[in-house]
């Protein structure tokens, strides 16, 4: 099981897309590649989930798109964060960190340092 590309956690795809795009504008395939690489091949982003997510995010005003020419001189649609997208990324990062820390605490079974009751 481990090592196989896994399914994305629900709701995390959009956050990761935002994160990826916060570095530089990118086309769809690039986004998928970047996520796969950065997750050390744990996450495999399929087109089926990526493009609908991109459309949704664009609709919410987080992304803008433009057609540009790639380094291999092919036409591709590039996605770019808007200020609203950047704000959204901040929000999601914060809530992710809080949630993942909490999940970690639960899964490692340690009691909160000062919340324990004997």
């Amino acid at each position: 099981m481990a090592g196989e590309p896994g399914e994305l956690l629900q709701g995390t795809l959009e956050m990761m897309v935002l994160k990826t795009l916060s570095l530089e504008p990118m086309h769809g395939w690039g986004i998928a590649q970047r996520i796969q690489q950065m997750s050390k091949d744990v996450f495999l982003v399929t087109q089926g989930s990526l493009y609908p997510a991109l459309i949704r995010m664009k609709r919410r005003g987080w992304l803008t798109t433009s057609w540009r020419v790639t380094e291999n001189s092919r036409r591709a649609r590039y996605y770019e964060l808007t200020p609203a997208g950047r704000r959204q990324l901040g929000l999601e990062e914060a809530s992710w960190l809080r949630a993942s820390a909490a999940v970690n605490w639960v899964m490692t079974g340690r009691l909160l340092p000062d919340g324990g009751r004997a």
Partner: protein
């Protein structure tokens, strides 16, 4: 902010859908290329790389759909495809589509037209201001409060003077239809005129648009006229200066007082061309307070209820009864005008409404049946598509769109049918149903019918799809070839639908059957005349050119001249055609004989004035004495012929000929007794007839005798010949409303004919639908059981026994339907009671005929599927 950008983006995607699609395709292709290139770099062959990248995409189309979903435009894209697909599917099965659309069209069209008729006639208020204040005033007898009769001018003038509950009250001279000849030479034609009292336009609250109404000082036969809008256009070219100009009617010059607005319709009369003041001079009539001929309508004061007005009328009637001893039992009653107008026609319309509702239910059931069959036919198709990855939601939506396509087509056809059905109703019902001429398609009702029919199409279309979506595709696919169990459940549902169809159709059949039986009974009723082969037409002589002597001479001359035509047996005239209702009911008292001057001998005589050889022309037999001849003129004492009933009532036990009686203002000598004649087509008999010779009675009034001509030849040919005879005598005269006497007598039955025609139509439609339903359900059953039949035949069953099996199944369904329908007919028998004549509403012969008819039709419907069942090749199904 976010919501706004969302909306903008959605709108944008709808507008730029085509471009978006193109760009999406390009983007995905780019993605796939990059994917493949990467794989190739890792050493995978080009072809394999392509395959894998395609695989990774999870199906290009699927991704596109998902993107469209995200964009919110998928419904558009799919919708377009679904409609195209639906059209293709329907085109592949044109029979199904045609039947479904036709069913919808009949349902929508029929119901809308009938509901519109009911709405126009029964539900819409009268087209006058404050219509609730309008009442009809009837003469009634204090001993028989249910009687409704016309009013005497004497009483009318008293009501007008004394009734404080009325803000206005008007009299209409409708007793016999009035007309006038206008124009000269070849252009001469007859128009309908209506003499009214001065307050008439006040009561209906519709004043002339130009000019003025009549004044009370003109209620003396003054030569003034108010024109209808149409007549004004025609005679004066719509020129407002027409007021004050003169118009010649019946050779007499009338001054135009005013013009009524376009579209004005009289509440009690139809198609009136002009109004003239009625003659209400007191003391003009010989019978005074005993001579009834006015139709009276009134408008109540705003604060007065009909009950209060009735109370005042009752008090006044008591006073009047003392004042006029000849009318000591006279009283009056008030009915709301609208009830009075629609009263007679509400029953047929209600029955029509019931019938059409039944048909609508039937149509919905039929549609349900059709769509259920289709649904189960396609259960496998759906299962297969679901197994291949089609989404359930998508399948359901596709059926929905298919049903919607059907519904829209049916709706369009339905509107067309509604339009034509309405025209047909107007054509058939005009004349017997008031207010029908104003019929238009009522948009609300159209929307209602469209909604009901479309919803049932959608609902029943969706049902099988939902069912298919619920079941596991594998289950259905595994049933392949075997008789499906789910089909069995549906089969039962459909059988019950057919049972209900048979039941509904049976009820309608019984209704139509009862009416047909009523007609036969009416035909069999002895009327006392032989109306076949008799032409009847009106012939009016204008007062301006014909005095009483000229009239007396003319009517005899015209009868003689017509009688001389080839093929003509005899010709004559009468003041009121036989069997067309009451007329001139005058108190008639024997002056001689055992009951001389006794109250007991007093009858309400039906007085008729006759010319020429009337009795021979209509076929009334002479029983005793003689008929009138040329010697019965003004130079000799007044003579009459009476009917047998009158003779037996007034002169019991003695010979009536030679006796004398008093009626119509003086003593008369009886010269003959003739056979009785019914008063209406149902054979109602009065207390007896008194016939006066026109030669002696022409001076009483202008009788406008209806001419009757008996011929051995064709009536059509006769009509032209008669027209030439009249023209040779006086080219200015109009041969008005020529028609066969049978038709003139049948006129009173127009309403029953109207109901019969509609009910028969509905019954036929219902029968057809039920047969179609039965045929469908049996055919489907046969298809499901092909295997079973194959096995049976392989085991030695012959074709006959298989056929009987299917037929029996059809007959059982029919029998159950008939039994249920019988219960329905019993429940509805009271509704039908008012329409039938001479038959019980539960007449066993009618019920049995309807059942047999139903069974025969069902047998026909069942035969084809039964026959098809025997054609199953055992080897082909068992393989």
């Amino acid at each position: 902010m976010s919501a706004l950008s969302d909306i903008i983006e959605r709108v944008r995607s709808v507008i730029f859908r085509r471009r978006d699609e193109r760009e999406l395709a390009e983007e995905l292709a780019f993605h796939a290329d990059m994917e493949a290139a990467q794989l190739e770099r890792r050493g995978v062959s080009r072809a394999e790389a392509r395959r894998r990248s395609a695989l990774a995409l999870g199906g290009l189309e699927r991704v596109k759909d998902d993107v469209r979903d995200a964009r919110g435009t998928r419904f558009l894209h799919d919708g377009q495809r679904d409609v195209a697909f639906a059209l293709r599917t329907l085109a592949r099965n044109p029979g199904f589509a045609a039947v479904a659309i036709l069913t919808l069209a009949v349902g929508i069209g029929g119901t809308t037209a009938v509901y519109s008729a009911v709405d126009a006639v029964l539900l819409q208020p009268l087209p006058y201001q404050q219509p609730g204040q309008l009442v009809r005033l009837y003469y009634t007898d204090v001993r028989r409060k249910e009687d409704r009769g016309v009013v005497t001018p004497v009483h009318f003038l008293d009501y007008r003077q004394s009734m404080s509950s009325f803000s206005s009250v008007a009299a209409l001279f409708l007793y016999s239809e009035s007309g006038a000849d206008i124009g000269t030479g070849d252009a001469v034609r007859r128009i309908r005129i209506l003499p009214v009292s001065a307050d008439y336009f006040d009561v209906v609250r519709v004043p002339p648009t130009i000019g003025r109404p009549f004044g009370p000082d003109e209620e003396n036969d003054a030569p003034v006229v108010v024109l209808s809008h149409a007549l004004w256009k025609q005679q004066f070219g719509g020129n407002p200066s027409a007021v004050g100009k003169s118009l010649t009617m019946n050779g007499r010059s009338y001054t135009v007082a005013g013009v009524m607005p376009d579209g004005f319709a009289d509440p009690l009369a139809g198609a009136v061309d002009a109004w003239v003041p009625g003659d209400l001079r007191p003391g003009r009539d010989p019978n005074e307070a005993d001579n009834h001929y006015l139709s009276v309508i009134a408008r109540l004061r705003p604060d007065v209820t009909i009950a209060r007005a009735q109370a005042e009328l009752d008090r006044l009637s008591k006073t009047l009864a003392e004042r006029y001893p000849r009318a000591k039992y006279a009283s009056a009653r008030l009915d709301p005008l609208k009830e009075d107008i629609v009263g007679n026609s509400s029953k047929p319309l209600e029955i029509m409404l019931g019938a059409v509702t039944l048909v609508l239910v039937l149509i919905c059931v039929n549609l349900a049946n059709l769509l259920l069959v289709r649904g189960s036919d396609r259960a496998r198709e759906f299962a297969l598509r679901a197994a291949l990855g089609a989404e359930r939601r998508r399948l359901v939506r596709q059926t929905l769109i298919e049903s919607l396509t059907l519904a829209v087509a049916g709706d369009v056809a339905g509107i067309a049918v509604a339009y034509f059905a309405m025209r047909a109703i107007v054509a058939i019902g005009a004349g017997s149903i008031p207010r029908l001429s104003a019929l238009t398609l009522e948009p609300r009702l159209l929307v209602f019918s469209l909604a009901v029919a479309s919803l049932s199409a959608l609902g029943f279309g969706l049902l099988p799809a939902l069912r298919a979506a619920r079941t596991q595709p594998g289950d259905i696919l595994r049933e392949q070839g075997r008789s499906a169990t789910s089909g069995g459940v549906q089969m039962r549902l459909r059988q019950w639908l057919v049972v209900s169809q048979v039941a509904l159709a049976f009820v309608l059949l019984v209704g139509a059957g009862l009416l047909i039986a009523s007609f036969q009974r009416i035909r069999e009723v002895p009327l006392g005349v032989r109306p076949e082969g008799v032409l009847a037409f009106e012939l009016h002589l204008p007062d301006a050119r014909y005095d009483s002597t000229a009239r007396a001479r003319f009517y005899e001359t015209v009868a003689e001249r017509i009688a001389a035509l080839p093929g003509v047996v005899s010709a004559g005239g009468v003041s009121k055609l036989p069997a067309t209702g009451d007329f001139n009911i005058w108190g008639t008292t024997p002056l001689t004989g055992p009951l001389a001057n006794a109250d007991r001998g007093n009858i309400a005589g039906q007085n008729r004035v006759v010319s020429g050889r009337y009795f021979d022309a209509v076929g009334i037999a002479l029983l005793d004495g003689r008929l009138f001849d040329e010697h019965d003129d003004v130079t000799v004492p007044r003579r009459v012929i009476i009917s047998r009933a009158a003779a037996e009532r007034m002169f019991p036990g003695v010979r009536a000929v030679g006796q004398s009686l008093t009626t119509g203002g003086g003593p008369r000598e009886i010269v003959g007794v003739v056979a009785d004649v019914a008063l209406d087509p149902q054979g109602r008999s009065g207390e007896g007839y008194v016939y006066h010779p026109h030669r002696q009675f022409a001076g009483d009034r202008n009788w406008s005798l209806v001419q009757v001509v008996r011929t051995t030849g064709s009536l059509d040919q006769l009509q032209g010949e008669v027209r030439r005879v009249i023209a040779s005598l006086d080219p200015q005269l109009v041969m008005y409303k020529p028609m066969p006497l049978t038709e003139a007598i049948g006129r009173g039955e127009a309403q029953r004919v109207f109901t019969l025609q509609l009910l028969t139509t509905f019954a036929c439609v219902a029968l057809g639908l039920a047969a179609l339903g039965l045929f469908g359900v049996l055919s489907y059953g046969v298809r499901l059981r092909r295997r079973e039949f194959g096995i049976r035949m392989a085991l030695g069953a012959n074709g006959g026994s298989i056929r009987r099996m299917v037929l029996r199944e059809g007959m059982v369904v029919t029998a159950i339907g008939v039994v249920i329908g019988l219960l329905g007919a019993v429940a509805l028998s009271r509704v039908l009671a008012s329409l039938v004549f001479g038959v019980s509403t539960l007449d066993p012969r009618v019920l049995a005929s309807a059942a047999v008819f139903m069974a025969v039709v069902a047998a026909f419907a069942a035969y084809l599927p039964a026959h098809r069942a025997t054609s199953v090749e055992p080897s082909s199904v068992l393989q």
